[in-house]
């Protein structure tokens, strides 16, 4: 399965991926209306310091702790993609408790969200990858997959 990976050596730490993510998932057609003067709730986050930076988003683990731990059965894994049914989520934060990557956080309404590879929004492919100015974030197959 194709996943989002970041090449730490090439990441500039510009945070553009966060904005592109927030916009892609906003459901709006105009970036300024979607993001200007608003707190953003991206599903990808830049970590690091002045010298080293990289983006972190859901790994779509083969053995996902979030899926096994969700008290509502709201998180599922189908064809490798880990998906949150936001209508079933009760905001208990158990997924935050268990994700080793810190890849889940709430949206502006307190409902859990995470990277779903832009497969279910109008972008259709990861917006973070498309907009990365240094091609540090890539969307590709790596390693063996069970699926």
């Amino acid at each position: 399965m194709k996943r989002v990976y970041v090449n730490e050596e090439w990441c500039l730490g510009c945070h553009l991926c966060e904005y592109n993510c927030a916009f892609a998932n906003s459901g709006m057609t105009d970036m300024a209306t979607a993001l200007k003067d608003k707190p953003i709730f991206p599903r990808i986050h830049i970590e690091g310091n002045e010298k080293i930076s990289y983006a972190v988003s859901c790994r779509h683990c083969e053995d996902p702790m979030c899926v096994k731990s969700c008290i509502a059965g709201a998180i599922t894994r189908e064809d490798g993609l880990i998906h949150i049914d936001q209508s079933k989520c009760v905001g208990c934060y158990t997924c935050i408790l268990v994700c080793p990557y810190g890849a889940l956080a709430t949206n502006e309404n307190g409902v859990m969200q995470k990277c779903e590879l832009c497969l279910q929004n109008s972008c259709g492919a990861p917006a973070c990858v498309k907009g990365c100015p240094n091609n540090a974030i890539v969307y590709e197959e790596r390693g063996d997959d069970n699926d």
Binding site: R3, Y5, V6, E8, E47, G48, N49, I52, Y54, V56, R59, C61, E62, M65, K68, S69, C70, I71, A72, G73, S87, K88, V90, G91, C92, Y93, T94, C95, I96, L97, V98, C99, P100, Y101, G102, L104, A105, R142, G143, D144, D145
Partner: protein, 417 residues
């Protein structure tokens, strides 16, 4: 060829893990699930969210409607297992049915512990808060004027309080312990959570409990009296161990299981709240009655029942609990200085962080108010990551993968995990 038959006693999340574990190895052998409750598996901790109106009856389904059918499972609803015969390898149900098994998983969960309190039988509206039926019965008697007394300030009692707070007149919670959530929080942390509950109208009588009931009146240990219309008993739970215990299987506070989820009896597995397994953060056996543990134990039991090979050797206590928007996330074990432990602490405005280390690893943490990315800490406990291989000073400030070495990070982020 003798046909393989898998039997699962219980129909909670451990049973789901078991079914999915079996099917990851064996896609064809029949599975029979004995379900005392008459519902398909639901998220048990959702019952308070149901009363609060955050979820609905339909959305509480833990799996899709075709879950049992698509996994080749027969579910016997409303049936209780009475006795396992290990010589005949069969289990007798309460309606006389005898189910033969090749392997069996006991996933019977736990039951509310109701202490013998004088006059309890005189209380008309009394409830436990464990099952969907408890919840639906409780819901029927809730009115905007109800005066509710909850005995027990643990996770169950307090989630119940939050769930019904918008639907009743008043709620009083009593507990013999001097703090709320005493199983997972120390005094100071508990006080933060208690304050949030009090701000939302919940009254507390701590260090005090009901010693006698007379109709709608409780007499407390302190001598005080409390009038109520609805009584909720949430003192604690006990593992349902009888099926294994009466066969001579090893039972302590729960059914003892090893890393393969085998009990001391051959071909008898156990998983979920009825078990007592190794808590690696404590280095000792402990009942870990939490949902993620139930699923993972069930899965391991299932894989091994079907002839596969899986161990679950990363069990730790871990809880995420919130009240009225204030979240607390805790995991692992907290060792004091006298036990060779060290604590790092940070306090902010309404937030609190405590990290506990011992023998060079993180053994536990408490986060209140600021809980983002807590799983990074949880993972350090579960994986027993030596602190000297990471930058713990960075981690103390924030849970971040930046604390790992570049090589470790490359493994975590650069391939399929």
């Amino acid at each position: 060829m003798i046909m393989t038959e898998h039997v699962i006693i219980g129909n909670g999340v451990a049973a789901v893990g078991c079914i999915e574990g079996i099917r990851s190895v064996d896609q064809t052998s029949p599975i029979t699930v004995v379900s005392e409750e008459q519902y398909p598996v639901y998220g048990r901790p959702l019952i308070s969210y149901y009363l609060e109106g955050i979820t609905t009856f339909d959305k509480m389904n833990y799996r899709k409607p075709d879950f049992y059918e698509s996994n080749g499972c027969r579910v016997l609803y409303g049936r209780k297992a009475e006795k396992i015969s290990k010589d005949e390898k069969s289990v007798l149900l309460d309606d006389g049915t005898v189910l033969p098994y090749t392997s069996i998983c006991v996933a019977t969960g736990s039951a509310p512990f109701i202490p013998p309190i004088k006059g309890l039988e005189t209380v008309q509206n009394k409830f436990s808060f464990m099952t969907l039926n408890d919840t639906l019965s409780l819901e029927k008697v809730l009115t905007k004027d109800s005066k509710v007394l909850i005995v027990g300030a643990g996770l169950i009692g307090l989630k119940c309080a939050e769930g019904i707070s918008g639907r009743v007149g008043s709620i009083t919670v009593c507990d013999l312990a001097t703090r709320v959530l005493s199983s997972i929080l120390d005094e100071e942390c508990a006080a933060l959570m208690q304050a949030r509950l009090e701000e939302n109208g919940i009254k507390f009588m701590l260090g005090d409990t009901a010693t006698e009931f007379n109709g709608n009146k409780a007499t407390m240990k302190s001598g005080a009296t409390v009038e109520f219309d609805i009584l909720i008993m949430a003192v604690g739970v006990r593992a349902n161990t009888t099926l294994v215990g009466e066969l001579g299987g090893e039972v302590n506070r729960g059914i003892l299981v090893n890393e393969q989820m085998q009990t001391s009896l051959s071909d008898v597995y156990a998983a979920g709240d009825c078990t007592e397994g190794m808590d690696i953060s404590l280095g000792d056996h402990r009942v870990l009655a939490i949902l993620p543990n139930a699923y993972m134990q069930g899965h391991t039991a299932g894989v091994n029942m079907a002839g596969g090979n899986e161990v679950f050797d990363k069990a730790i206590p871990m809880n995420s609990i919130g009240f009225f928007g204030l979240h607390a996330i805790t995991a692992g074990s907290y060792f004091g200085e006298s036990d060779g432990g060290e604590m790092y602490e940070e306090k902010g405005n309404g937030t609190l962080k405590r990290l506990f280390t011992k023998d060079g690893v993180l053994t536990g943490f408490i986060l209140i108010g600021q809980v983002e990315r807590a799983g990074i800490y949880t993972s350090l406990i579960r994986e027993r990551v030596p602190i000297d291989t990471i930058n713990f000073d960075i981690l103390k400030k924030n849970p971040t993968l930046f604390a790992y070495s570049q090589n470790q990070r490359r493994k975590m982020l650069g391939g399929v995990v």
